[in-house]
């Protein structure tokens, strides 16, 4: 069984049963004796001076134990802060992020007080009675406004509203633009977006029998949360246990340390009773971090044959109110700038990245971080260039894409792409979708008055985010980049694997077990998988940035190999043959190569190792290993193709077909890989067509419910078609690459490209300059270019 369940096998997930039967450990299902519930009072203004808080009435409400205000909370807990070094001349101005508003409220939804009561109903009753006196201040509600010379300051202590301002120039950019055959310069705006996991954030904090602080939190990074709790509450880290139990999706929202986690911990310490907070959806949309809102200027200098001679790009992000931790509002524009040459050969590059403070919810990372914006800007510019040069979009890409023999490839961003197959992926995607026939179908439909469009988007995905990628941004000051795994074999041969990453849908209990199975020849069912508990797992920064397979899986492979090597020594001794003669058979037994003679079960070897019954001289007892990997970043390449229908009369866009060719290196479990791609693509289609957080001119969030923030539903999307290439990375254990985010990247280019293509017969190729592509925007675009129907 071991070999058939190893790398590449479509193993059914071992963790599914508890989810299918409702026996899950999501925090909403947890209860402890004498537990209290928290409801937060959140500021109702975008920007206001906090004059006073009246809690007397609330404190006297039925069932209320305590009302904590900012004065108390901020005395118990230091503000969150994300400092950095090694930034050179880059402007970086972090803020203190107090756990409750301190003097000034800077966005709608910022915490003003916490009400602790017997249940959430009573807590909300009392929260309504908290009086918050404020003096409104002028709000800053866009990045343009924030950067204007006379803008009000979001943080008075800073000289201006810039959180981050980075610049890069490499090569002869001005010369390339001056001598270009053609210049394509496009201004774009991407929509404010949010991760919107189905499970909102949730925290339960209590003191255990030894008086240690235990914090259950719906987090992607429990070890990072523990470190920050210790720092900011002034506790020894050993006296804190953080557990991320079942977590209902993260998508980048839950890889931060949040004020709510710190406040709940402070409350548990103060009240010496368990306290629980389940975020409601309105809070999640108002106070959970947002993503992606940027103004982009993107220019291509083109040669006569369509060669991209230079790129000049500026990304200005509407960064929201505070510096989040460990990722900050700088992540989105800085990653966009750092990856904006995509999978193309480009020598001359100039970039500018700005994140500015505004009076909105903080903008930080979400699936793809910067890459979706680049895909929109770069791929849309390439299609525009193709249209202006009279080239087919596929041909335009063929002339510029890197091909597998070009790797390793150093970009003008000083990034080293390790490996990949951009051109091969393009060709595979064209074949998957039968591009030639699709063009014929498009032409036939046009003859009948139906407007179909094809949109291609090629991409390269930074995965894992090792030192090579993050060190230049100083980010590694705040986040551990290695991952560890500990593997122990019990006397019966059963295996316990514990890791510092966190699976909240990615299926690590299965895929990591497959890696072990491939090494030790066991079944995935022989492996007990442990994650999420800082008491029982080795340190790691968790799951984000498509890093778990490479960093976490790499550590698993290393630990498994160390265990195997030791087991071979023990087995050789027991079998009285040289180590070089021992092999692990297909059914996981230790035997002489060739299969002759006696063989041993893993349990027999483990028992010998653990009970020291017959160990070789000089070998320590035990059969376990802990290993870690400090990864470099492998790159995953892909091409997406969207096939859409646009109704010019109403502006409605329907996605008819969608195909992806992806090369994420060797796949541990193709079924899991395909699940990630499908889910990512649908999120990306949502970003392109539906999702949009809108603030009104007073800074009120107008989309604070799922009625108004529209996620994609099943009837809106087609079955996602897929094909794979598998180019191993030279940088990682077994050539593994990351891939969790890429699905959400490609639609940001492919869908707008398809819409522009569909409208081309009516108004020529016109850019989609704003996302999401609403029916009204399509309608306006048609009108603006003179089409009346």
């Amino acid at each position: 069984m071991g070999i058939t369940q190893g790398m590449g096998a479509r193993v059914q997930r071992v963790e599914d049963e508890r989810y299918l039967t409702g026996r899950t450990h999501f925090i909403d299902a947890m209860a402890l004796p004498r537990m209290l519930t928290v409801a937060f009072v959140r500021g109702g203004e975008a920007h206001a001076r906090l004059l006073g808080i009246g809690v007397q009435t609330a404190a006297a409400c039925p069932g209320v134990s305590h009302v904590m205000t900012g004065e108390e909370a901020n005395a118990l807990c230091q503000p969150i802060r994300a400092d950095r070094t090694r930034l050179g001349r880059t402007h970086y101005a972090p803020t203190d992020y107090p756990v409750m508003a301190s003097g000034v409220i800077r966005h709608v939804g910022e915490i003003v007080a916490a009400v602790v009561a017997d249940d959430r109903y009573l807590a909300e009753d009392a929260a309504e009675q908290v009086r918050v006196d404020v003096e409104p201040l002028p709000p800053v509600l866009s990045v343009d406004q924030a950067l204007a010379p006379d803008a009000p300051l979001v943080h008075g202590t800073l000289g201006d509203n810039r959180h981050y301002h980075g610049r890069l120039e490499n090569g002869e950019v001005d010369a390339a633009f001056e001598s270009a055959h053609r210049v394509v310069r496009t201004q774009l705006r991407s929509n404010r977006h949010c991760a919107s996991p189905m499970e909102t954030r949730a925290v339960l904090a209590h003191l255990d029998a030894d008086g240690r602080l235990v914090v259950y939190t719906s987090s992607q990074m429990p070890h990072m949360v523990r470190t920050k709790l210790a720092d900011l509450l002034g506790l020894p880290e050993r006296n804190i246990r953080v557990v991320a139990p079942d977590v209902g999706g993260g998508f980048g929202l839950k890889c931060h340390v949040f004020p709510e986690e710190l406040i709940l911990a402070a409350l548990a310490l103060k009240l010496e009773r368990p306290v629980k907070w389940i975020e409601d959806r309105r809070e999640n949309y108002m106070a959970g971090f947002h993503a992606k809102e940027e103004c982009i200027e993107f220019a291509l200098a083109l040669g006569e044959d369509g060669t991209i001679e230079a790129i000049d790009a500026a990304f200005h992000a509407d960064g929201g109110a505070y510096t989040s931790f460990p990722f900050t509002p700088s992540s989105e524009p800085s990653m966009a700038a750092a990856t904006c040459t995509g999978p193309y050969r480009v020598r001359n590059l100039r970039t500018e990245a700005i994140a500015a403070y505004t009076n909105k919810s903080t903008l930080s990372v979400c699936r793809g971080v910067g890459l979706p914006i680049v895909n929109y800007a770069l791929e849309h510019s390439i299609d525009r260039a193709a249209a202006e040069l009279g080239l087919d979009p596929a041909e335009m890409r063929r002339r510029n894409l890197l091909r597998s023999e070009d790797f390793p490839y150093g970009t003008p961003n000083f990034t080293l792409y390790d490996s990949g197959s951009p051109l091969e992926s393009l060709e595979q995607a064209l074949e998957l979708m039968d591009y030639e026939n699709l063009r014929k179908e498009q032409a036939a439909a046009l003859a009948e008055g139906r407007h179909l469009g094809i949109g291609i988007a090629s991409m390269i995905e930074t995965t894992t985010y090792g030192q090579d990628v993050l060190a230049p941004f100083g980010k590694s000051d705040n986040v551990a980049l290695h991952e560890s795994a500990a593997l122990r074999v019990a006397p019966d041969g059963g295996i316990t694997l514990s890791v510092g990453t966190h699976s909240h849908g990615q299926g690590h209990a299965t895929t990591f077990a497959q890696l072990v199975a491939g090494v030790l020849g066991c079944d995935v069912g022989d492996i007990r998988f442990v994650q999420g508990d800082t008491d029982t797992t080795p340190y790691g920064s968790g799951t984000w940035g498509s890093r778990s397979a490479v960093a976490g899986g790499g550590a698993v492979l290393k630990a498994a190999r160390q265990v195997r090597d030791k087991a071979m020594q023990v087995a050789a001794h027991l079998l009285q043959i040289p180590v070089a003669e021992v092999e692990i058979t297909n059914d996981g037994r230790f035997a002489r190569k060739g299969g002759e003679g006696p063989s041993l079960e893993r349990g027999e070897v483990a028992r010998a190792a653990l009970y020291e019954t017959n160990l070789p001289l000089g070998l320590d007892a035990g059969l376990e290993a802990t290993a870690s990997v400090s990864p470099r970043s492998p790159y995953t390449t892909a091409t997406h193709i969207a096939f859409v229908q646009v109704d010019p009369a109403t502006g409605k866009v329907d996605v008819l077909r969608y195909g992806v060719s992806e090369d994420c290196g060797p796949m541990i479990n193709p079924t899991v890989v395909e699940g990630q791609i499908a889910g990512g693509v649908v999120q990306g289609i949502g970003s392109a067509l539906l999702e949009h957080h809108i603030y009104d001119d007073q800074g009120q969030l107008a989309t604070a419910s799922m009625m108004d923030y529209r996620l994609p539903t099943a009837p809106l999307v087609p079955r996602i078609e897929m094909a794979h290439l598998e180019t191993p990375s030279p940088h990682s254990e077994d050539g593994l690459k990351g891939m969790g985010e890429g699905g959400a990247v490609g639609p940001m280019g492919a869908v707008p490209n398809a819409v522009s293509d569909a409208l081309k017969p009516l108004i020529g190729w016109q850019p989609i300059s704003e996302l999401p592509i609403t029916p009204e925007r399509v309608h306006d675009l048609l009108r603006r270019h003179g089409w009346r129907g």
Binding site: R10, Q12, R13, D16, E17, R18, Y19, L20, T21, G22, R23, T24, F26, D28, A29, D119, R120, Y121, S196, P197, M198, E199, T200, D246, V247, G248, G249, F251, I278, D280, R281, H504, G505, Q506, G507, P670, T671, V672, E674, G675, A678, G679, G680, V681, V682, Q683, S705, M706, M707, L711, P712, T713, A714, P715, V717, R719, I720, E721, M722, G743
Partner: protein, 164 residues
């Protein structure tokens, strides 16, 4: 007529439950916090996301839009009712086979919606299935493999294994 507690008795997953509840207690909160049946989750408390879907007398409803007191005398079925004697229900088996869940948070509501769909609104096509789950949001799977599992459950397509 009261704002104080009302005595209710109902059947939850075949077992009789008697409780005194305040009228405003939502059925989903009642199931989790009073009856100790915690597999049903809330995702929006606005009736939009479908996560909290349970069966009330055999029909799918939102447990965030019904007060527990309204379930007095009714039969409620949650995800915990599906497997019996340690055997997964066929739908559960198909969800596992097709990798129809990732984080698993929407799964209970999705399963209960699917039960209603298959029993009361039998789908004749993939489009019917997609339309039948339009009131249930999933943020992980892109619906792809949920649809695949339901296609097989409805006998519409013998899918060749999990995946695309």
């Amino acid at each position: 007529m009261t704002t104080t507690e009302c005595e209710i008795s109902l059947t939850v997953n075949g077992e009789a439950v008697r409780e005194a509840v305040p009228p405003r207690l939502l059925l989903g909160d009642f199931l989790r916090e009073r009856a100790g049946i915690a597999g049903t989750h809330f995702g929006c408390e606005q009736g939009v996301c479908g996560t909290c879907t349970v069966l009330l007398d055999g029909e799918s409803i939102r447990s965030c839009l019904l007060f527990a007191v309204q379930a007095d005398g009714c039969e409620v079925a949650t995800v915990e009712s599906l497997a019996s004697d340690g055997q997964l229900h066929r739908l559960q088996t198909l969800f596992k086979k097709h990798h129809a869940l990732q984080c698993g948070y929407c799964t209970p509501g999705m399963l209960m919606t699917a039960l209603d769909l298959l029993a009361n609104r039998p789908p004749a096509s993939e489009a019917d299935i997609r339309d039948g789950i339009r009131g249930n949001l999933c943020r992980c799977t892109g619906y792809q493999n949920i649809v695949a599992a339901l296609m097989e459950a409805a006998g519409l397509e013998k899918a060749d294994g999990a995946g695309a």
